[in-house]
């Protein structure tokens, strides 16, 4: 409509302006947010060059529980990854240990953050995207500790294409046999196409797996061409040891909806055949920077959440994908407001939990909705926490039947927030 307003009135200035006024749904008056800020003492402390590594001052802290309920946390600070742990649910942390001895540039934005997994025997697996010198470039890196986080292996590069191009947005999962899968967004096919003068939309999804506890990885395998270039990938192991993988894809032409595939030990096409998971018809030649999340239940259903501004749906969505029938069997809008972002989903105590960020004009709130009927209906949203300064993405993390939100905010530092599973 706005396009018509500009183009059709080209001959007449007055008409153009009137048309503009009439045709446009004008935005509400813009008002400056009140400058109500939390104490800056933590911020100031963290800005000092001499600051020691800590979960409060580090960036993109990412948690995992081991089977004994010890909380492990990896974060980025001064070109290092650091690992620490807490035995009292995040109240106190052990002195952090550097994962990479040699400093290297590490991506630490919300979509592109380090990943941490704890193996069945307490193995610690960490993956991250190393930042290359040029824009949008990097390598997928991996390191492990087999002695409870005291010593780490030399970081290895998982992508076998070593050109200084885009290999970023790593995601990691382990299956019940302890195999480690790492998937990422890879631009080798885009580069190849460009060199031969052919068009190529987006990037590709690649993966590799390790059957020796991360000592070595298989050659890289392509899952799909034409993924979105800048969105995180969601992964989780299914009961049949297939890795359910969900990513933002580019369907012709420039429709940025989601694809789902199950990665296995056998390289594609024996495994990893993608299916369209969401159909919002979001056509945009732009960068959503907004990846999905997923949680699996015991009945071969993938509970997925994503962000869209498609023709059919807008805002934060929930969907239940039937892995046996390979189809999205239900979907529901969770929050349509324009400041709602970064949704996460988890299952705990037989319930489903959705968590996301929302800005109310003054503060950013963590909002939550709960479903007690397998995602058929969702309770009213409530606020779990808030901050009046910048913040990381929230994450959901479970241990047994307990559920926690993990959130790093500039003003407050790192927080592990217990979620009451019988909350309204």
């Amino acid at each position: 409509m706005w396009k018509a307003a500009l183009v059709s009135k080209s001959g007449n200035l007055a008409k153009w302006l009137t048309g503009l006024a009439l045709l446009l749904a004008l935005s509400p008056p813009v008002q400056a947010a009140k400058d109500k800020r939390a104490s800056h003492s933590l911020l100031e402390a963290c800005q000092k060059a001499s600051t020691l590594p800590s979960p409060d001052c580090g960036l993109t802290p990412t948690p995992a529980f081991d089977k004994d309920g010890k909380l492990w946390l990896v974060f980025v600070q001064n070109n290092h990854l650091y690992l620490t742990h807490s035995t009292d649910l995040g109240k106190h942390f052990a002195p952090p240990v550097a994962v990479n001895r040699v400093p290297e540039a590490i991506y630490h934005d919300g979509e592109n953050r380090p990943k941490l997994l704890i193996g069945p025997q307490g193995q610690i697996y960490i993956s991250w995207s190393q930042k290359g010198a040029a824009r949008f470039t990097g390598h997928i890196r991996f390191a492990r500790s087999l002695d409870g986080g005291r010593n780490f292996s030399e970081p290895q590069t998982v992508n076998d294409d070593l050109a200084p191009i885009g290999h970023r947005f790593d995601s990691m999962a382990t299956d019940s046999q302890g195999r480690i899968y790492i998937a990422w967004v890879d631009k080798r096919d885009l580069v190849k196409a460009k060199q031969s003068g052919k068009p190529y939309a987006g990037a590709a999804i690649y993966y590799a797996l390790s059957e020796d506890q991360g000592k070595s990885f298989t050659p890289n395998r392509k899952v799909a061409d034409h993924s979105c270039e800048c969105c995180r990938i969601a992964m989780a192991a299914d009961s049949d040891d297939q890795i359910v993988t969900l990513w933002r894809h580019i369907y012709p032409v420039n429709i940025r909806d989601h694809a789902i595939a199950r990665l296995g030990m056998e390289p594609p096409p024996a495994s990893g055949q993608p299916t369209r998971a969401t159909d919002d018809n979001w056509m945009v030649e732009g960068c959503p920077h907004h990846g999905p999340d997923l949680a699996l239940d015991d009945n071969r259903k993938a509970h997925i959440t994503w962000f869209t501004q498609g023709e059919k749906n807008r805002g934060i969505m929930y969907g239940r994908f039937d892995l046996a029938r390979n189809t999205l069997e239900t979907q529901q809008s969770i929050d349509t407001s324009s400041t709602a972002s970064r949704p996460q989903i988890a299952t705990a105590a037989g319930q489903l939990f959705m968590l996301w960020k929302s800005f109310n004009g003054t503060s950013t709130e963590l909002r939550m909705r709960i479903s007690r009927d397998n995602g058929n209906s969702w309770g009213t949203p409530h606020t779990l926490a808030e901050t009046t300064d910048g913040s990381d993405y929230p994450l959901l993390i479970t241990h047994g039947k307990s559920l926690f939100a993990s959130w790093h905010t500039r003003a407050e530092g790192y927080r592990l927030i217990p979620v009451t599973t019988d909350a309204p």
Partner: protein, 162 residues
Amino acid sequence: MHHRLISKCSLLLLLLLPGLAAAEFRPFTSGSLKEITTAHTGRPFLLVLWSVDCPPCLKELKEIGQLYPQFPPDGLVLISTDSADYADEVQKILNRYGLADAESWRFTDGFPERMRYQIDPNWYGELPRTYIYNSQHQRIGRSGILSQRILQQFITMSNHIE
């Protein structure tokens, strides 16, 4: 004498340089949008939000850069949503696309949600994002790359007003 003058000039240049470099970006914080609209009172302009980490943004900036010489005076305002870590990269990109002397702002607040809300409470944060302001400062918001046709249209209409 002549020699001395040159060295005096170089000294003056050296003194000025840091000031010039600092003037290239303006920190976009609370109240900045009001500042921008006030400074552009009565004139149409294009407000373009972009980021170094957004390939389509660069495609759009390239196109805007090519048409920039035809823009009305003060007809372009660029806002990078990148943090201070990316200041050099932001500058390099603007230089490359011939936009070094365009009015440029950068998110410096560390609280991008608040900056986005200030610009438009109904904007989801996707990039590139452009607002076309007419001379009465009624505006249209648009996500994704602006077509050449729209850019041309803006130029034609805006120069007509001048």
